[in-house]
């Protein structure tokens, strides 16, 4: 069965600094990986995905993520944080050869300090 771990409940970053939100995953087969963002009192919005190809994927709002197969990680990054990036971020995985389930992590709350 697949699973996702987001080891940090909260990450604080000063505005203008680079940010990283960590995600590791576990699947028996081959992963499709996703990042979603949730702003207060809103639903989830898709940010980016890794399906195949380049390990570095770029998404919405200047975010990118790097797929690392050997470390089973898919960390979310942004070179320069904005206060408006403050939100709850979720990593998700699907084992695409075995299952239609899409499993989410517990989420990481990102605070960007002005």
């Amino acid at each position: 069965a697949q699973s996702v771990a987001q080891p940090e409940d909260q990450v604080n970053v000063a505005e203008g600094n680079p940010l990283t939100v960590k995600c590791t995953y576990s699947v028996s087969g081959n992963p499709y990986l996703f990042w979603y963002v949730q702003y207060p009192n809103r639903g989830l919005q898709f940010l980016l995905k890794y399906i195949t190809g380049d390990n570095l994927v770029k998404g919405s709002y200047g975010f990118e993520a790097e797929f690392n197969k050997s470390q089973t990680s898919f960390h979310l990054k942004k070179p320069s944080a904005l206060v408006s990036d403050s939100a709850l971020y979720f990593c998700a995985v699907r084992d695409y050869r075995r299952d239609d389930k899409i499993i989410f992590g517990k989420g990481t709350r990102l605070h960007i300090l002005p």
Binding site: L44, F46, Y96, K101, I102, K106
Partner: protein, 112 residues
């Protein structure tokens, strides 16, 4: 938002009563999902559907049932609501072509 609506958006009910939440989509997607969101637990998959009358269990399916009699509607039923089912419930579709999920606005359920 991929044309996803959820109803009701808010509901207060009492322990032991049945509750049905509805997810409706307008774009004919085959795959639909129900999740619950709770502090400290993130999003947990309850049930999902891969076609009309085709459903399967997720991570936290106990106490929940689902039905999908037509492509556009996916119903989540709490047969006898308990306080532990107080949560925010999100429906999602999976766009197979884009391999991306899109979420509905959520239903906030309070079981007293």
């Amino acid at each position: 938002d991929a044309g996803i609506t959820q109803s009701p958006r808010h509901k207060v009910t009492e322990t032991g009563t049945p509750v049905t939440l509805r997810c409706h989509q307008t774009e004919n997607h085959r795959y639909m999902y129900w999740y619950r969101q709770d502090p400290g637990h993130g999003l947990r998959l309850i049930h999902y559907s891969y076609g009309v009358k085709d459903t399967d269990k997720g991570e936290v399916s106990d106490g929940y049932s689902v039905s999908r009699s037509k492509t556009e509607d996916f119903l989540l039923t709490l047969e006898s609501a308990t306080s532990s089912q107080t949560s925010v419930y999100f429906c999602a579709i999976r766009d197979r072509g884009r391999e991306t999920q899109y979420f509905g606005p959520g239903t906030r359920l309070l079981v007293l």
